[in-house]
């Protein structure tokens, strides 16, 4: 069904002398990781469905520098940031939406002092605003009455105090939203942040993603909803380790909504 996806680039908009309403920052995981690409596509389907004029940078996009910064390499981070800002500013980008809380945090909080000032929103916030403005409708349908729990991404929740947008979207699906033992400001990390995604964990007696997955399984959800491609990978791995793939699905909020309408 991929031919139905409309994914214009900024360059194409520019060539027509037009500006899109919003730039969709896809991010490295969203561009390259097989699991995350599905999230990217689900979100694009929703954007297409709501007739949003959006664009991506495509091959002009580059890593925001978040993992380098969190690993301690401020040089590499700032090189990435300055390069990206040059591209974004050349296209006169005003508003950015992204499906990755790490990109979201970096673009929103760490780019301004380097000359990159944009209105940056996470895709759950963006979808929520489309809903509020009546530009997108959500049908419960498939997920009606299902037990869904939301795993707060650290870089969305604690880092930026966004707890409600994803939850409101889940409720719109008429699902039964259940909370884990530690949630919202007390949410437990999936184990991927701070560049941990790219290395083995230090010696310990357990993997963090397994701990978090167990917390989720404790409340017997049918679906664990995520809002971050990295959390998604970590919890999916956790579910595999606990051999629960048959009972519990790990899905991004965008996938839930797209799925509910059979997009």
């Amino acid at each position: 069904m991929s031919e139905t996806l409309k994914v214009p680039t900024m360059a194409e908009y520019m060539a027509q002398g037009k500006q899109p309403e919003v730039l969709f920052w896809v991010g490295c995981a969203g561009s390259f990781d097989d699991r995350a690409k599905k999230i990217t596509k689900a979100f694009v389907k929703l954007l297409n469905k709501a007739n949003i004029e959006f664009a991506v940078l495509g091959t002009e996009e580059s890593c925001t520098g978040d993992p380098a910064k969190r690993a301690g390499n401020e040089f590499l981070f700032q090189m990435q940031a300055v390069t990206n800002i040059e591209v974004l500013n050349a296209y006169e980008v005003k508003k950015i939406v992204t499906t990755c809380p790490h990109c979201f945090n970096t673009l929103k909080n760490e780019y301004p002092s380097l000359g990159g000032n944009y209105e940056v929103v996470h895709h759950t916030q963006f979808l929520k605003s489309l809903l509020d403005d009546g530009r997108l409708t959500i049908e419960g349908g498939k997920f009606k009455g299902k037990r869904i729990t939301f795993h707060d991404p650290c870089y969305l929740g604690r880092a930026n105090n966004i707890y409600e947008a994803p939850r409101e979207l889940i409720k719109k699906l008429e699902a039964e939203l259940v909370e884990m033992k530690s949630c919202k400001q007390d949410g437990l990390c999936c184990g991927a942040g701070g560049a941990q995604m790219f290395k083995d964990a230090e010696k310990g007696d357990k993997e963090i993603n397994v701990e978090r997955t167990e917390q989720a399984l404790d409340i017997k959800p049918e679906i664990i909803a995520a809002g971050c491609p990295f959390c998604n990978t970590m919890i999916t791995d956790g579910i595999k380790i606990k051999e629960k793939e048959a009972d519990v699905a790990v899905m991004d909020i965008a996938e839930l909504i797209a799925n509910a309408q059979d997009l």
């Binding site: 991929s2 994914v7 680039t9 896809v26 490295c28 969203g30 561009s31 390259f32 990781d33 690409k37 990217t40 495509g58 091959t59 996009e61 580059s62 890593c63 993992p67 380098a68 969190r70 690993a71 301690g72 390499n73 401020e74 040089f75 590499l76 700032q78 090189m79 990435q80 940031a81 945090n105 929103k108 909080n109 760490e110 380097l114 650290c154 870089y155 604690r158 880092a159 930026n160 105090n161 400001q185 007390d186 437990l188 990390c189 184990g191 991927a192 942040g193 701070g194 560049a195 790219f198 290395k199 083995d200 964990a201 230090e202 010696k203 310990g204 007696d205 357990k206 963090i208 701990e211």
Partner: protein
């Protein structure tokens, strides 16, 4: 002869307060060893935070039992210390309960102090039980042995003794009992001393009075060496705490300068530095020792109550890794103290002791275990930020020592070459569209 107690008292007071002032001076000097950081923004928000978090104890209540017990101790301790004012005036001028002249109100005041003293006593005993009998895990992590453990208990014993002395002092004060106003609690203790002669009771009363005030002075001087320093530093610490979103990690200005120079096609890399710029010593990137941290981070270290709420929420610690954000703060304080003593011993100048915060206190294994999840920052009831220290130390490891774990070096090479942390080609970034 009659003046001897007054003089003794004045001398005790001067020594006690003098020594305290000396320690506070040292404290301020040590904190100022840190790098400068601009915290002059948004003063009204800062006052508000201090009012809510320190004065209002708002974050304490996230753990309701510990929170409520602490509020009792905190309020009780502050209010009962109004009584200290009277003790000091009585001590210097040889008066007896100088404020009792205010009439009925005095009874009401002392009566409420007595009730508070009992509440504080009970709360402190419960604190002790939580530590020693219930053995709440956050008080028993690896870093909580030896001095930190004894320190926590000392404080509890101290408060128990001080509160008991206050009640005994009132119970054995025959004149005060005679007034029969305000002795709400002590009237029930007074009979315990009923069999003693009037003289003995007087001696007990005087001893309790003296031990009480000397105890308070000792307590005051104990603070500097203890996690109990928080009773003072919680206020400035919540005032100066970070106001930005927790996810925002500062951009190093020294790096920005170099990056801008590298990106500027017109810049001449071999140009001599502009006039006056030469003295600016080349910045050290990140932190390997306490002097590289900023002064707010050092203030954080002195403020830490060692409560372990941070560590009990840390995903790395929960899964058995060595990292404990509380230990990061305790190590920083210990090293800072060591540096301070070194400066004292060498006539105001720090002499290289071939030690540093990195490796000698905080290991690389701890630093690399952090997921930067901010759980520790969120959990801290006095607005301490252990994560910022971890990040500054990682910066030193990577930018000054190129000592990142191999896998992270691979990740960074990928970003440098392909603009993604994985070895994919930037030109393939939009391929998903057609897959």
């Amino acid at each position: 002869m009659d003046y001897i107690p007054n003089i003794l008292f004045a001398i005790t007071l001067i020594i006690g307060i003098g020594y305290f002032v000396k320690n506070i001076r040292k404290l301020i000097r040590n904190i100022k060893l840190g790098q400068d950081i601009d915290v002059s923004d948004n003063t009204s928000q800062r006052w508000k935070n201090m009012g809510l978090i320190a004065l209002g104890q708002s974050k304490m209540l996230r753990r309701p039992v510990a929170g409520i017990l602490h509020i009792i101790v905190y309020v009780g301790f502050i209010i009962i210390n109004i009584e200290v004012l009277e003790i000091i005036i009585d001590g210097i001028f040889g008066t007896h309960r100088i404020f009792s002249g205010i009439g009925n109100l005095y009874g009401v005041l002392i009566g409420s102090f007595e009730i508070l003293a009992v509440l504080v006593l009970v709360s402190v005993i419960v604190f002790w039980i939580r530590r020693m009998v219930l053995r709440i895990p956050r008080f028993w992590n690896k870093e909580m042995t030896k001095w930190p453990k004894n320190d926590a208990l000392n404080i509890l014993y101290f408060e128990m003794v001080l509160m008991s002395l206050f009640l005994i002092m009132n119970a054995t004060d025959v004149l005060f009992q005679g007034m029969n106003s305000g002795n709400i609690v002590s009237q029930f203790i007074a009979p315990w001393f009923g069999d003693f002669s009037e003289n003995t009771i007087h001696i007990i009363e005087r001893s309790a009075w003296w031990i009480h005030i000397i105890g308070i002075l000792i307590f005051l001087n104990y603070l500097y060496f203890s996690k109990h320093l928080h009773i003072l530093l919680a206020f400035p610490n919540t005032f100066y705490a970070n106001l930005k979103p927790k996810g925002e990690l500062n951009n190093l200005e020294a790096v920005t300068k170099e990056v801008m120079l590298m990106m500027d096609p017109n810049a001449d890399p071999f140009a001599a530095p502009a006039e006056g710029e030469e003295e600016n010593e080349p910045a050290k990137f990140g932190a390997s020792d306490v002097q590289d941290l900023n002064w707010v981070q050092l203030l954080n270290a002195y403020t830490c109550t060692e409560c372990g709420r941070c560590t009990s929420q840390c995903p790395a610690n929960l899964t058995g890794k060595k990292l404990s954000p509380r230990k990061i703060m305790m190590d920083t304080r210990d090293r800072l103290e060591e540096v301070g003593k070194n400066i004292d011993a060498n006539k105001g100048e720090f002499k290289d002791d071939r030690k540093q915060l990195l490796d000698d206190y905080i290991t690389r294994e701890e630093l690399w275990a952090c997921t930067s999840c901010n759980a520790c920052v969120e959990a801290c009831p006095v607005s301490i930020n252990p994560l910022s220290i971890i990040m500054d130390m990682r910066r030193y490891l990577v930018m000054e020592q190129s000592a990142a774990p191999t896998e992270l070096n691979n990740m960074m090479t990928n970003i440098e070459n392909n603009g993604a942390p994985w070895p994919y080609n930037q030109m393939d970034r939009l391929n998903w569209k057609n897959e």
